[in-house]
């Protein structure tokens, strides 16, 4: 069975003044298997973030269905949504979304604390994660005292500490310099190699070239898919770039 099934997903927004309607997603279908590292690419306004928000259960689709491990989001009551999100999904955002009132340690532990985990258990889980992400020395600092790359690694640690079924990353390299970006993508690859399923929305072909599959979206619809297979990330990168030039219909730069 596939881990994530997205069936005929449709999302229509009403414009602010109410008059016109805007279709962000129009019948998107795809599946993600356990252990996959999938990147979703597309131009600005193609519907990437809308799609991610729907899968994150932060927003509700106009039509269609999302099923995680056989459980449809439709069947989850509003009150249980937060707990469901906490248990099954891990998030990494472009702007980190760390709380400046918490230390790095507490930011990482936040989802565990919210699920009422025992202190001993929390510490047991924190230690290896902090070590592998190189955060051990920073645990008692506050977010405004560390660099962007360190903030994003903190966000990754926060995402994986709950051992989620799926990690959702929204432009995770968007606010990072190239060195930190490369570092973060290596971390994602490592996590993926250990069996973690990752779904990443990105603008950057470089970031996407680390994934095992890339889904291209255009104007709210699935446009094409690329599998990495045995390609090196350099070869895969070239394929992605040439695919993007087809996608952009010539002329429009999508980076």
């Amino acid at each position: 069975m596939e881990l994530l099934q997205v069936k005929n997903l449709k999302k229509v927004y009403n414009t602010r003044l109410g008059g016109k309607q805007f279709t962000a997603l129009n019948g998107v279908n795809f599946e993600v298997s356990r252990g996959e590292f999938v990147a979703i690419m597309g131009a600005s306004g193609a519907g990437k973030t809308t799609l991610l928000n729907l899968i994150a259960s932060l927003d509700k689709p106009t039509a269609g269905e999302i099923i995680l491990e056989g459980k449809s989001f439709k069947t989850i009551r509003d009150k249980e949504l937060s707990a469901f999100r906490r248990k099954n999904l891990g998030f990494v955002f472009q702007d980190f979304n760390l709380l400046d009132t918490f230390t790095i340690r507490d930011n990482i532990l936040l989802p565990l604390v919210l699920s009422n985990t025992k202190v001993a258990e929390m510490e047991k889980r924190l230690k290896p994660i902090a070590e592998s992400l190189g955060l051990t020395a920073l645990l008692d600092k506050f977010p405004y005292e560390v660099s962007g790359g360190e903030k994003q690694r903190t966000a990754v640690a926060r995402a994986v500490i709950t051992e989620p079924k799926l990690i959702l990353a929204d432009e995770p390299t968007g606010s990072l310099d190239s060195k930190s970006s490369a570092n973060l993508l290596r971390i994602f690859e490592d996590l993926n190699r250990q069996g973690q399923t990752i779904l990443m929305v990105t603008h950057s072909s470089m970031a996407a070239s680390h994934a095992s599959r890339v889904i291209f979206i255009k104007d709210g619809e699935l446009f094409s898919q690329l599998y990495r297979g045995r390609d090196s990330s350099k070869e895969f990168f070239d394929k992605i770039v040439s695919n993007l030039s087809v996608l952009s219909d010539g002329g429009v730069d999508v980076g």
């Binding site: 985990t117 202190v119 506050f142």
Partner: protein, 663 residues
């Protein structure tokens, strides 16, 4: 660039920032009008018709000075708050290519428009309400003085305009300096900078705690009115410092302990709340401490002014147990006494009143030190040492004959025997020795008419065998005097008749009695009542004006804090939801924090007042207000009303907060 451009930009800015500028404008208007009304009362000739209007106007003048001192820092504080809120905007101007002097010009016009319109509106409001206040004042003074008409003297305009002009100049300079010193990037980043770390948390918290404990201890253990008066000021300073220290360092200290305890800290509810509070207290401690102190000041001022106003009749009765007391030379000749007698008879008939219950006694008085159950004659050493006034007794020595005739007794005394009349407890005092003279105390008599009324000092009457013994004893107790004992006689009586007649009788007695050879002083409750009413009525008004000022300050600070909290929380709200806290949970935890943060100052203020209540009661005793029940009622009533007003203000401002967070 055209001049009109800056004015226009300034006006647009004001209306765009109305969420902060409108409350600022309203508060400034209130402050201007209060100040205007106070200066109006000082300079207006219209209350000149009221008797003892000088007392009243002097008191208001004193109040005006204090108000000026208070208004100044307060206006600077809210100005600095306004300007800090707009850092980002100024940064943007700089990026868009406005030079600093251009921004300066915009700031100048903004401040000018806001200040000038608040000043103008404040004066208009002051004129309108001034009339109402004037009527109320006359009513409170019980003095519908004929020919009193409301007028507005030019000084009221001049002083109000002058004060707020100075404030305008200072705030404008401050704002210009603020923009000039900053570079655009800093301005843009503004509030995003990291937090200041509070240093020396533990020593500061401990010091604050000790200071507060000392102040509370002093307030609770004070037993005497005069000590209360002298220590009040220093206790107030201690409480102010302690409040700031405890809000700033104490809160951090407390929260750090909570955070160190992992069992408590890592619970879903506490986790977000404790770190949230940590952050909030760091940002807002000073503001909250000021709210706490301002609230305490409102409570103390209002409750004591109301107690004094409502208790004025009690106070008069205690100060003047007899309606009229005439002090005379004891050695007055029969002729002189006769003269007074005739005068009293004549005035009695002229004013259609009756003298009842007269009594008189001859006395000498002095002060004695009471230590370890023994009386001592104070010498220069004890005066200069730091003994408090509560160790002293006010002593009046009278001959036995006067005691017997006034109390209808038939007591006899030997040469070396004394009677003591006092309501104080002097247990175990068997003999009375001063210098090398030793007297046996025959009896201690409480509750005689001599010791009626009250005083902030402890009092007793010594009854000696005859006038010669009185003089002899006095010479021993007052060794510094040149041995010249000049006893005085007091003639005291009550007056029966209509209030107005009694008043005119008293006035006539003062005008015709004082010139008489025998009379040295005339004290009447009727004339003193008018002065007392003028004083306490005036005090009540001053108290209300001050309360209005403090309240305006408090409300504005609460409002501004809510706004700034709102912008901060908006972001936190969103992140918490994304990380997996549901809407309700987030709302609940933030609600809880906001409630704690804003009710903490109220709780602090009530605690301060509770600790100070004993001191306030004692202090009011210095004004002869011994009605503890009334004082306590006033304190409690003020607390209840203030608490409700505070809750109301909180609700009102909380709406703005939620509007910001939810948007």
């Amino acid at each position: 660039m055209a001049k009109g451009f800056f004015v226009k930009l300034a006006l647009t800015n004001l209306s765009r920032n109305r969420r902060t500028y409108l409350p600022f404008f309203i508060a400034s208007t209130i402050i201007v009008s209060v100040y205007f009304m106070v200066t109006n009362i000082i300079y207006t000739r219209s209350i000149g018709n009221v008797e003892y209007s000088r007392t009243l106007q002097d008191m208001f003048a004193f109040g005006m000075v204090i108000m000026t001192i208070l208004i100044f820092p307060f206006m600077l504080y809210i100005n600095s708050f306004l300007i800090k809120q707009r850092k980002k905007e100024f940064g943007l101007y700089a990026i868009l290519g406005l030079e600093k002097r251009h921004v300066g010009r915009v700031i100048f016009w903004e401040n000018l428009v806001a200040s000038l319109s608040a000043l103008a509106l404040g004066i208009v409001v002051g004129c309108v309400f001034g009339r109402l206040i004037f009527m109320l004042l006359l009513f409170a003074l019980n003095a519908l003085a004929s020919g009193s008409r409301f007028s507005i003297p030019w000084q009221a305009f001049a002083f109000t305009c002058a004060l707020f002009l100075v404030i305008f100049v200072v705030t404008t300079l401050y704002n210009l300096l603020h923009v000039r010193l900053a570079n655009p990037i800093d301005l843009l980043k503004g509030p995003r900078k990291g937090e200041k770390k509070v240093r020396f948390v533990i020593p500061l918290a401990l010091f604050g705690f000790v200071l507060l404990a000392w102040a509370y201890y002093t307030a609770i253990t004070v037993t005497n009115a005069l000590t209360a008066l002298t220590t009040f000021f220093i206790a107030v300073i201690a409480v102010i410092i302690a409040t700031f220290l405890l809000f700033i360092a104490g809160s951090q200290f407390f929260l750090r302990i909570l955070r160190k305890n992992k069992k408590i800290y890592y619970k879903p509810n506490n986790f977000v709340a404790i770190s949230g509070m940590f952050h909030r207290m760091k940002q807002n401690a000073a503001g909250l401490a000021s709210i706490c102190i301002l609230s305490t000041m409102v409570l103390v001022t209002v409750s004591s002014c109301i107690a004094l106003y409502l208790g004025k009749e009690d106070m008069l009765r205690i100060m003047y147990p007899d309606d009229i007391a005439i002090t005379m030379k004891a050695e007055a000749s029969d002729e002189e006494l006769n003269e007074l007698d005739l005068l009293l008879d004549r005035l009695e008939q002229e004013n259609n009143v009756q003298i009842v219950d007269p009594y008189s006694y001859t006395y000498l008085s002095c002060m004695l030190l009471y230590e370890h159950g023994n009386f001592k004659v104070p010498d220069y050493k004890t005066y200069s040492s730091a003994l408090s006034l509560e160790d002293y007794f006010q002593v009046t020595i009278i001959p036995l004959a006067d005691y017997n005739s006034n109390c209808g007794n038939n007591e006899t005394l030997e040469q070396n025997e004394l009677l003591i009349l006092t309501n104080e407890s002097l247990k175990g005092l068997g003999s009375f020795s001063a210098g090398d003279v030793n007297y046996r105390i025959k009896q201690i008599v409480p509750g005689t008419r001599f010791t009626e009324g009250g005083s902030s000092l402890r009092r007793m009457f010594l009854v000696a065998k005859d006038l010669e013994t009185v003089k002899e004893l006095w010479r021993v107790l007052e060794p510094d005097s040149d041995g010249e004992a000049t006893p005085k006689t007091i003639l005291a009586f009550d007056v029966e008749g209509p209030q107005e007649n009694s008043l005119s009788f008293s006035k006539a007695l003062i005008t015709h009695g004082l010139p008489l050879e025998a009379v040295t002083w005339v004290n009447t409750i009727f004339t003193n009542r008018i002065e007392g009413y003028a004083m306490y009525g005036g005090l009540l008004f001053l108290g209300i004006f001050f309360a209005l000022l403090f309240l305006t300050a408090t409300v504005l600070i609460i409002y501004f804090k809510q706004v700034s909290e709102g912008y901060d929380d908006k972001e936190r709200f969103e992140i918490l939801q994304k990380v997996g806290m549901d809407d309700d949970e987030v709302r609940r935890t933030i609600n809880k924090q906001i409630l704690i943060v804003f009710y903490l100052p109220l709780a602090g203020a009530l605690l301060h007042l509770l600790a100070a209540s004993n001191m306030i009661i004692k202090m009011l005793e210095a004004f002869y207000l011994f009605n503890v029940k009334l004082t306590v009622l006033c304190l409690a009533g003020t607390c209840v009303v203030f608490g409700l007003a505070y809750a109301f203000v909180y609700r009102l401002t909380a709406k703005t907060y939620y509007r910001i967070v939810k948007r």
